[in-house]
Symmetry: C2
Subunit: 315 residues, 2 copies
């Protein structure tokens, strides 16, 4: 029987999705598994925090990791590659909460909810604000994966135009116009909201910096739901301070937790959320559905099929 | 030539929409019109603040008021009725900004943006929150006019279900299920978000009170973009304090400005905006388009056609 170790907090209700396949595996659900469970496990279902190089060396039988997150940038990729361990993610399950998060940030920035929030905290009734709309504005989406595509779909339903960016400008269903990576300047010039949803890879580190912010409209806002490192944060602070761009909605930061002395906290034109855009009370339910699909494929066809990571490319 | 007085701040660009009809009227644009202009005017284009009983008695030739707002509850209805002055509104032009405002409040309440906003003001990185989604939740819309219908359309695009309420349960395009007024309890029981968009009339004053809040889910939120008087505000405060309902997004209040001693300001589960949901930088542009349509009808057919108010009913 296939030995499966689950360190994702999981209840009976969540496991029901495994159906009949559950009786065909030896399942250990524990957030603090004992050494024997680690040593014998063949399949590891985890949020990733406990997937260290040390654990990999102890888990001599491990051959498949079902990660309950989308990004693999924090994993010991070298150890996984050396052992030829298959890694699958739950990429895609963040699409709905993250797209809702992006959409809220877009409307909040247009309708100045962040200003009114500060005034509420001060019990001040003050209607002064330049209130615009999302309607007929353009959203530029850097990274047209699950999240970017869902942002485009929802934005379109709000009457927005969408421009996407991916490596080769490959058309994507639901995005009106997709540009290749070397045409990012055009996206930056045309967009009222730039939403960043690319994975962090060596190629996307500090992908947007001073030069890119200068290309944006002075009224445009930057929304980053990807990774802090995708942006040159110091250049972003300057661009916001100097009015090079209009505002920002930031869920991720170069250093997390965002240090108390970061100037971003107190900026009037910045909305900060603490890396929560992918969180949802339906997360485990959706992750388990992907694991169930992969487990079925593994038990019937010998290997998982959905969301297999290319460990060389890093996504 | 028809004499038209415009006290809405209007530039040449806004007036261009009148086209050829502009040369067929005698147009005065002034926020402080002289007595002669008031006395002679036949058509009055106004936000409504200056449309007093006194002005009506001075404007002996007035026969049509194009109001640049949707609600007529603050007008001297009796004076207008006595003189048989036609009143048209710009009802409909608030639909887009107000629906965006409602949608932002829905996602903000689900994703706890209001909590994170308070934490940002305190420079506190704290990820603890019960984060839900708009996806697959139900929005109950009390009042299926322009605004309510637009809320339903946009909410549906976000994967929400919608229930509407109007006097006779008349089906409305874009709203999945419409209930009649006497079935409000069902709407309240089934909704995760209750959005109030009815006009204020004698029939809708304190339309929602203690009994209605008790019918709602304890996790549900109330969003009021209509008029403060549509809700029993004291009962709402108690319902929020006692956890009878989960939260609220309020743009309108029984007394405006909301007094500094209102307990609503400091409530963790309440988003307050200062009666701005209908504001947009495209407001005058859209209002002028409606006035242009009515002016054309007036010059060709003798009377305006769009958004004529029934002064007896009050909307």
């Amino acid at each position: 029987m296939l030995k499966v170790l689950v360190t994702v907090p999981t209840g009976e209700k969540d496991l029901a999705v495994l159906g009949d396949y559950r009786s065909r595996v030896e399942l250990v659900v524990s957030q603090r598994p004992d050494p024997a469970a680690i040593e014998s496990t063949e399949v590891f279902v985890t949020f990733g925090f406990d997937l260290t190089g040390e654990l990999i060396s102890r888990a001599a039988n491990l051959r498949w990791v079902q990660l309950f997150r989308a990004g693999v940038d924090m994993l010991p990729l070298r150890d996984l590659l050396a052992r030829e361990i298959t890694v699958t993610t739950v990429s895609g399950i963040h699409a709905i909460p993250m797209a809702e998060h992006a959409l809220a940030m877009i409307i909040m920035l247009a309708h100045k909810f962040h200003l009114f929030g500060r005034r509420q905290a001060q019990k001040k009734w003050n209607r002064e604000a330049v209130i615009t709309e999302a309607w007929e504005k353009t959203v530029g989406i850097i990274g047209t994966g699950h999240v970017g595509t869902e942002v485009a779909k929802k934005a379109r339903a709000l009457g927005m135009r969408s421009i996407g960016l991916n490596t080769r400008g490959t058309p994507v269903d639901g995005v009106e116009k997709v540009l290749s990576r070397d045409r990012m300047d055009q996206l930056l010039r045309e967009s009222d909201f730039v939403v960043v949803t690319v994975p962090l890879t060596p190629a996307t580190r500090e992908f947007l910096g001073e030069r890119e912010f200068t290309m944006m409209k002075p009224t445009a806002s930057l929304i980053n739901l990807a990774r802090g490192e995708v942006i040159d944060e110091k250049a972003l602070v300057r661009a916001l301070q100097d009015g090079v761009i209009g505002g920002a909605g930031l869920d991720v930061f170069a250093a997390e937790p965002l240090p108390p002395d970061s100037p971003l906290w107190a900026m009037e034109n910045v909305i900060i959320t603490p890396h929560v855009s992918g969180i949802s009370d339906r997360y485990v339910e959706r992750g388990m559905a992907i694991f169930a699909e992969n487990l079925a494929a593994c038990l019937t066809g010998g290997r998982p099929v959905r969301n297999i990571v290319d460990l060389q490319r890093g996504y």
